[in-house]
């Protein structure tokens, strides 16, 4: 029998999860409700987490910027307004779906839905995000790159929820970028995507790089062997060529309605390169802005 519940506290939440066979948490509903209508999922119980304070946190605490699982894309944009170096993140929030979707959709839901083409994940991975997973027994924190295991699957245990996403404070001289290709200009699922964080020194030489790619494997991938090819360089043509080669080597895409394996393997190299360059440009600007 279908049930809808709206717990107001964590204690109520754990009790509800224990009482039901197949409870499904609800945040923005932009994935779950579509799955309901298309018949892909039919949970016995929907548990709306939006009224529980633990999932609504947004802002700086304990040295990281925390995004609660129930925080909408729109709220992230508002809360990031005064924060430095959030350009890529706020840009992403305004790229997902439509304004209507952004007013409801959450990064938490996007992460837990665990689509291989999830829009938020490559950038979160590049930014060094960690996920706090909460259950009745307590909390555990894992790196973003260790969360998804297969399409639609993650390391979440039964009766465990994503509580929030932690973004470590970004270092001086860093810049982030996210790029994706979609069949149409708006409102579409990515064919492939790339997130990048680049750090440069005063001379503009890359000292650190994190690169993640999406839509080209059963889950989003952190491609640090490719990222290493940029460290110590000024992202010159030779370094980028090596970088692109390594990115394409790591990609393991499929053919589907949105694109072919061949196209995806080609375009992910282009996206990663452009994301790295944009991140580098932002990093250089950040260095200059910091007066170094």
């Amino acid at each position: 029998m279908e049930t809808f519940t709206q717990p107001g506290t964590e204690a109520e939440l754990w009790d509800l999860l224990d009482q039901h066979e197949n409870p499904r948490p609800l945040a923005g509903g932009t994935d779950l409700l579509v799955q309901l209508r298309t018949g892909k999922r039919r949970p016995e119980c929907i548990v709306d987490i939006k009224r529980i304070p633990a999932f609504a946190e947004i802002g700086n605490r304990n040295g990281s910027f925390r995004i609660g699982a129930a925080v909408t894309c729109r709220d992230i944009v508002r809360a990031s307004a005064g924060e430095p170096r959030m350009e890529a993140l706020t840009g992403l929030c305004q790229l997902i779906g439509s304004r209507q979707i952004q007013n409801r959709a959450t990064f938490g839901g996007n992460v837990c839905n665990a689509s291989p083409a999830a829009d938020s994940v490559p950038l979160l991975m590049a930014m060094g995000a960690r996920y706090v997973l909460l259950s009745r027994d307590g909390a555990r924190t894992i790196p973003a790159e260790d969360f998804a295991t297969a399409p639609g699957r993650s390391v979440l245990r039964p009766k465990e929820l994503l509580q929030c996403i932690e973004l470590p404070a970004s270092q001086a001289g860093t810049g982030d970028a996210f790029l994706r290709v979609t069949p149409r200009t708006e409102m579409d699922i990515a064919i492939a995507s790339a997130g990048a964080r680049i750090q440069v020194d005063k001379a503009g030489v890359c000292t650190n790089a994190r690169i993640a790619i999406g839509g080209v494997a059963p889950k989003p991938l952190l491609v640090q062997d490719a990222a290493e090819a940029l460290v110590g360089t000024v992202l010159d043509a030779a370094a980028l060529e090596r970088f692109v080669f390594l990115v394409r080597q790591r990609a393991d895409p499929i053919d589907d309605v949105r694109g072919t394996r061949t196209y995806r393997r080609h375009v992910i190299g282009v996206l990663a390169k452009r994301a790295a360059e944009t991140a580098r440009d932002r990093a250089v600007a950040a260095r200059q802005g910091e007066g170094h």
């Binding site: 809808f4 439509s98 304004r99 209507q100």
Partner: protein, 162 residues
Amino acid sequence: MSLRVRTVVNNDEVEFLCQPYDSLLLVLRDQLMLTGTKDGCGTGDCGACTVLLDSRHVCACLVLAAETDGRTVETIEALGSGRELHALQRRFLEAGALQCGVCTPGFLVSAKALLLEHPRPSEEEVRYWLAGNLCRCTGYDKIVRAVLQAAEDLNADAEASR
């Protein structure tokens, strides 16, 4: 198992019974008889079901009716005053920004939300903001022009009443 929901719809306090997985769209149309909001796709892709939920425009097909308990909902029926058209409605009519009219309520509610937040949008901003609303008839151009003109009307009214 029916749920009892208490909400405010178009400034009226409303109470209804619904099934746990009924969408707000279904309840608006079938129970509250507010059929201005249209069912285009049911999956949040077309925007024909756009309503305001606590002043934010959302797709009613992606909101469970039960989620609106204690919240406020505004539909297309709240635009204009019954006798007097809102500037957006007037401009849509004058510009010929509708043909079959099915997408129109969604566009008007989205445009209203846009102008509340950005009273002086550029054309590019209008196009991006309305990307969540699809139209199969008009080709969008007249819609965009109507929204820009309505923005001017509203700003002129605001100036005049200073």
